[in-house]
């Protein structure tokens, strides 16, 4: 919990002799004391559990550490000690959901992914067609295809628009009316960053049902349009930051050689910033790939693979997770369940829907993490060495 530096004195600070600072390990002692008292109290009350012991232990640690410091060091340092503990506690609390979430997803999701139903990793190669009731089978191949296709199309729409907007803001919006326009664009991009994802979904839906005779039309491209509304501002922000990092000297050198502006942008500015741009775009993709609400509204759900973005509903990983979670526990009358149409027999499991939801969540998180790692690696290995 406590780090050695939390109470290390600044070497330049002059300390009056009467304010003796205690070494950091006194914090460990009060911490252990707090934990022991907490365990004892909880054992007597009969509510002993790891969570409750840690929570009460931390509160007691605050109390003991503060009181002890008050006696030995005086009120000012006691407050300092208390705040240090509180701040460390805040960080520890925030790690709690992250770790428990990752643990749940990995322990429950990975188990289902590698479970041999019928073969290991079949979860990633099969779809949900013909899976009924509590059948302990099926997979997310159709949802993976849908997610990748829709994200690809969203990228095809967003990356050019976002990149050219960033180029406009950095290279063109310097004087006159373009400067005014640039200010407006910057403001609107900020506002777009805050658009709720469900509103983006409603927009995608409203645009298409305004022009289509069929009000219940749902297709992949609608989802891609909705997602690009969320993706464009991120691409603009990230790219603009990277383009501004390109030194003015490089542009001026190119202009001095008589290179036209567009060629300077393509050959000098974009080429210098390419690593940063790729990183920013990858992060933008990672951001929208997990969006659920817009897809819920625009692409619906199916049980088998649909490769056509312009016709029919599509399944995606996020909406698949939501659907399986909503299905809840399955109803198992016997050990097996038979599909009445093709007479296939599956094992029946009560938790099959929730298991599939966790496994799909694991798949989604793996995709997001891989994208994040790729982004970090690109920025780490390929960024130009500008400063020598």
């Amino acid at each position: 919990m406590s780090t050695p530096t939390t109470v290390r004195t600044e070497p330049s600070v002059h300390r009056p002799r009467d304010e003796r600072r205690l070494p950091w390990y006194h914090l460990v002692f009060t911490g252990i004391a707090g934990l022991l008292v907490a365990i004892a109290v909880l054992a007597i009350v009969g509510a002993l559990s790891v969570t409750s012991a840690i929570l009460l232990g931390f509160v007691l640690h605050l109390l003991f550490g503060w009181g002890y410091s008050l006696l030995r060091e005086g009120p000012r340092w006691a407050t300092d000690r208390l705040m240090t503990l509180l701040v460390i506690g805040a960080f520890a609390i925030s790690m709690f959901p992250l770790l428990s979430l990752l643990w749940s997803v990995i322990s429950r999701g990975l188990t289902r992914v590698i479970a041999a139903r019928p073969t290991t990793f079949a979860f990633w190669t099969e779809d949900m067609s013909g899976i009924i009731g509590g059948a302990d089978a099926g997979g997310v191949f159709h949802a993976i295809v849908g997610t990748l296709l829709i994200t690809l199309w969203a990228s095809i729409i967003s990356i050019p628009v976002g990149l050219f907007t960033a180029i406009f803001l950095v290279e063109y919006a310097n004087v006159g009316w373009k400067r005014t326009l640039g200010r407006g664009v910057t403001f609107l991009v900020d506002v777009m960053t805050g658009i709720p994802s469900i509103v983006a979904g409603l927009f995608g839906l409203a645009v298409f049902i305004a022009f289509m005779p069929d009000q219940s039309v749902r297709m992949g491209i609608m989802g891609a349009v909705a997602l690009s509304l969320l993706m464009i501002p991120t691409v603009v922000r990230n790219s603009e930051e990277m383009l501004r990092l390109v030194p003015m000297d490089l542009r001026e050198a190119a202009y001095a050689l008589g290179v036209p502006k567009w060629l300077t942008i393509v050959k000098v500015v974009l080429r210098t910033a390419i690593a940063g741009l790729t990183t920013g775009i990858t992060l933008a993709i990672a951001r929208v790939i997990g969006e659920t609400a817009p897809l819920l509204l625009t692409v619906g759900m199916v049980t088998s693979v649909n490769w056509n973005m312009f016709d029919g509903r599509m399944a995606t990983l996020p909406t698949f997770i939501n659907q399986q979670y909503r299905n809840g526990n399955a109803n198992c009358m016997s050990d097996t369940v038979t599909n009445p149409i093709n007479q296939e027999v599956y094992a029946c499991a009560v938790s099959t829907n929730i298991d599939r939801a966790w496994a799909a969540a694991f798949t989604l998180i793996v995709i997001v993490m891989v994208l994040n790692i790729i982004a970090r690696m690109i920025s780490h290995y390929f960024s130009p060495k500008l400063s020598r």
């Binding site: 600070v13 609390i93 749940s104 628009v161 664009v185 609107l188 506002v191 469900i198 502006k261 909406t319």
Partner: protein, 320 residues
């Protein structure tokens, strides 16, 4: 494109006689493409507002407020949703702001310099988790774990209106949804406040330390006053995110439509976003317009809050 529109650097470019046709074409194309993209941003946002308004018009016209005799009322339908949305976000912020400030201070001023960036990355990971996974985690894992806490609060602090009422398991109540929302807005508030805290003038901090201030006194007298604007803006950004968040509320909250303050009771509240997501599959015609109308309300709400937040950031920005 007239010559007046050509960029300032054109003056330093070779005379027109030396220019090849492709060169001019390339410049004109790039100019048009980038200005066009900038304009497209304007058009897109305008289109969002226009399409949402157009599609919600049927509901506005058909509602009791305008036609006088319809069987539904816009205000009666929307207000409980707005109330639920705001209440859930407010509780999420009350939970998230102190914790985020603690984390931001920990990373900027308490943690060892070498660890700080790694710890910051851990917090960013929280932001990378898709919202639907938070919903799943909240609904399956967190809700049962929170039950003892709610029973405790209800038993001993039931005299506070917020904790009053009769909570029943499973605890799919507003409080659970708010806890998950708090986890989701935490990384945003942390990231912005951390940046602001790191921008505190080094000399002021060192001056405070030189006067014998403890680390906390330095933070209280120098860092926090300096970062106040940034923290307010960060909280507003977090609020904008919490208001518009769909999945956490949809997957955790058992919906209802009342103005109840009892956040531990199940089936009392709903949020705009979650309501849209749950009703859209069956809705068509006027029902759909009604949902789009609530979406428009949400859009305006988040637009105003984000604009205020950005304004605060912009105002306090150049000073730093």
């Amino acid at each position: 494109m007239s010559t007046a529109d050509i960029e300032p650097d054109a003056a330093s470019a070779p005379p027109a006689s030396m220019k090849s046709g492709g060169r001019r074409f390339g410049d004109a194309l790039f100019n048009a493409l980038s200005v066009g993209s900038g304009l497209l941003i304007f058009v897109t946002l305008a289109a969002v507002a226009i399409f949402l308004t157009l599609e919600s018009l049927p509901a506005i016209i058909a509602s009791r407020e305008f036609s006088g005799s319809a069987d539904f009322s816009l205000i009666e339908y929307s207000l409980p949703l707005v109330f639920g949305t705001v209440l859930a976000s407010a509780i999420a912020l009350v939970i998230a702001i102190p914790i985020s400030l603690g984390i931001a201070l920990f990373i900027s001023h308490f943690a060892p310099r070498r660890l700080a960036s790694a710890l910051g990355y851990m917090i960013d990971l929280l932001a990378a988790v898709p919202s639907v996974v938070y919903g799943l985690w909240g609904g399956v894992w967190l809700v049962p774990k929170l039950e003892p806490l709610y029973v405790f609060l209800n038993t001993y602090f039931g005299w506070i209106p917020l904790f009053a009422g009769e909570p029943t398991a499973p605890m799919r109540n507003l409080a659970s949804a708010s806890v998950v929302l708090a986890v989701m807005v935490l990384p945003i508030i942390t990231a912005v406040s951390r940046e602001v805290f790191l921008q505190t003038p080094r000399l002021q901090e060192e001056a405070a330390l030189a006067l014998g201030a403890t680390r906390w006194e330095t933070i209280r007298t120098v860092v926090l006053p300096f970062g106040r604007g940034g923290v307010v803006a960060a909280s507003m950004l977090g609020l904008g995110r919490a208001l518009g968040e769909t999945m956490a509320v949809l997957m955790i909250l058992a919906p209802g439509a009342t103005f109840s303050l009892h956040i531990l009771e199940v089936g009392r509240h709903n949020s705009i976003a979650a309501n849209i997501a749950s009703k859209q599959a069956e809705a068509s015609g006027v029902d759909m317009s009604l949902l789009i109308f609530t979406g428009l309300v949400l859009f305006v709400l988040t637009f105003v809050i984000n604009a205020i937040a950005r304004w605060i950031v912009a105002r306090s920005g150049p000073k730093s």
